[in-house]
């Protein structure tokens, strides 16, 4: 390989200049602007710097002729040094950029400064074998003894572009998968509810005795059908909610709401259920309105789940729902407590409490429910920045509470 850079030995008096043989054999001195600020920079070092960069370094003169390249240029463009030196730099530029390039190059020499080339444009290089490849180019003026030159650092970004493209494709794939999942959930919900409409509908008309009277046994059996169908419906609802939460597709609307309004809604829904079991149902709320910023639907569902659990697992005594303001590490929180005098939870069962389908088995007691209530409540509570805690003593009762930051 021809050595185009001469070492200082040849020109020991000019330690801050690089000597270069151009294509027609004449040697030229180059002085970088950096050389002026650092006159001691030896030319081997300058050469080493150019050789060490991962980019192709190409120097051209005012006429656009290539007067220096580093080894990397040969690798990237596929030419030998002697094939490029003295050629117009446009040999490395594919159509349609090639035609306009001399114009850009002339402009650059009118006001040379360090800058990236073609900002916001996709630039391409042309290899000897005709292949186009994406590049990134930065330009700097470079002063030689006699004339102004420009040094271009050309980076082959084929790999980066390929990764970017792959990443984009993956993102689109993920988005599509998410949409497909959403559509699947919506169809599932629709398709499962449609047959249930007929089951619950006609069981209802029979129990309303619209077609005619029922004997006691028929009525009892129909009620079992109705109960099971309703159970199935709540399972479907809970599972779909869970699936929505898991896929991150649940829509939350954070707004300022008063905790009292939530408790009122829950109490009016569930107090009758407690009364039916002969339980006292008590609501303790402070006079001042406690305002929190939360998703109303999620919070209501959590409080309904916790309260209906309390009623389900309590045979005698009372249910108390209490809201209060407390401070945790000097920060104000609202605490909603649901206390019962029910069967309580054994210590060994407490760890499994929030897992899906971990309903407690109580000898002789058949508990209605999906086994998803607490699991779902905990997931929902995490979404609204809440925290569910509990204390329980087997045989005495439980207290579940949800802690929410005060607005």
């Amino acid at each position: 390989m021809t050595q185009h850079f001469d070492s200082t030995k040849k020109n020991p008096q000019k330690s801050n200049t690089c000597v270069f043989h151009n294509a027609d054999g004449a040697s030229q001195d180059f002085k970088s602007p950096h050389d002026i600020s650092n006159p001691k920079l030896p030319e081997e070092r300058f050469q080493k710097i150019l050789e060490a960069t991962p980019d192709a370094m190409i120097m051209i003169n005012k006429e656009g002729k290539i007067i220096f390249i580093n080894t990397q240029t040969e690798k990237i463009f596929g030419y030998r040094k002697d094939e490029l030196l003295g050629q117009l730099v446009e040999i490395l530029i594919p159509e349609p950029y090639r035609n306009r390039h001399p114009e850009h190059r002339n402009k650059y020499f009118l006001s040379p400064h360090v800058r990236p080339m073609g900002i916001g444009m996709e630039l391409y290089g042309l290899r000897k074998n005709g292949e186009h490849f994406p590049v990134e180019i930065s330009l700097s003026p470079f002063e030689t003894g006699e004339e102004k030159t420009a040094l271009a650092a050309v980076r082959d970004i084929t790999d980066r572009k390929r990764f970017e493209l792959t990443l984009q494709e993956k993102n689109v794939e993920l988005e599509n998968a998410n949409l497909a999942k959403d559509r699947f959930l919506a169809s599932m919900s629709h398709e499962l509810r449609t047959p249930l409409n007929a089951v619950l509908g006609f069981t209802g008309t029979l129990l309303m005795k619209l077609p005619g009277p029922l004997n006691a046994e028929q009525e009892k059996q129909l009620k079992t059908v109705q109960g099971s169908a309703k159970h199935l419906l709540s399972l479907i609802n809970d599972l779909l909610d869970l699936a929505k939460i898991e896929s991150g597709n649940i829509e939350l609307k954070f707004e300022k709401i008063s905790c009292q309004s939530i408790i009122d809604e829950v109490a009016s829904n569930l107090a009758p259920m407690a009364k039916n079991k002969g339980l006292d149902f008590k609501v303790i709320i402070p006079k001042e309105d406690l305002i929190i910023k939360t998703d109303r639907r999620s919070l209501t569902q959590i409080v309904i789940n916790l309260t209906s659990n309390a009623i389900k697992f309590t045979e005698k005594g009372k249910i108390e729902v209490e809201i209060d303001k407390i401070k945790v590490q000097a920060r104000p929180y609202v605490i909603i407590k649901i206390m019962d005098t029910g069967i309580g939870i054994k210590t060994e069962d407490q760890t499994k409490l929030f897992q899906a389908f971990q309903q407690m088995l109580i000898p002789g007691v058949r508990i209605e429910g999906t086994g998803l209530g607490l699991h779902l409540s905990q997931k929902l509570s995490a979404l609204i920045n809440g925290k569910i805690e509990f204390e329980s003593e087997y045989g005495k009762g439980s207290c579940f509470s949800i802690l929410l930051p005060l607005a």
């Binding site: 959930l185 629709h190 509810r193 449609t194 409409n197 007929a198 619950l200 006609f202 829509e251």
Partner: protein, 123 residues
């Protein structure tokens, strides 16, 4: 005069259920099993109230709502969606499409007719 209620529903069992309930409360029922048939019945019979599924062949519930609510002859007829689309957001979407009311499936047979009746406008 006995009020006439049109039910547009493609699932025969669910259609039968609603017809059964409404007839029991002495309403006259008209039925259609796809969107186009539904619109044809509305034009011919001008019912007093329309119960409409959302997922329907030929014209879906949204398209039916669009046609009716943009026609002064039919815009006043109460249009009620009875649909198994009952996930979060479905109700808002359906009401903003022009439906006057929304009932989720599975319906509650004891209250269904009452829920329908609250849509008769007091004249």
């Amino acid at each position: 005069m006995v009020k006439r209620i049109l039910i547009i529903e493609d699932n025969p069992t669910n259609l039968e259920l609603m017809v059964y309930l409404l007839n029991h409360y002495a309403y006259t029922t008209l039925t259609a099993t796809d969107g186009e048939q539904g619109v044809a019945v509305i034009e011919k019979e001008k019912p007093d109230l329309i119960i409409c599924d959302i997922q329907l062949p030929k014209l879906n519930g949204y398209e039916i709502a669009y046609i009716l609510k943009n026609n002064s002859k039919f815009a006043d007829i109460p249009l009620i969606a009875v649909t198994a689309y009952s996930m979060v957001g479905d109700q808002d979407k359906i009401l903003s499409a022009g439906f006057d009311d929304y009932i989720a499936k599975p319906i509650d047979p004891e209250n269904f007719v009452k829920q329908i009746e609250r849509n008769f406008k007091v004249k």
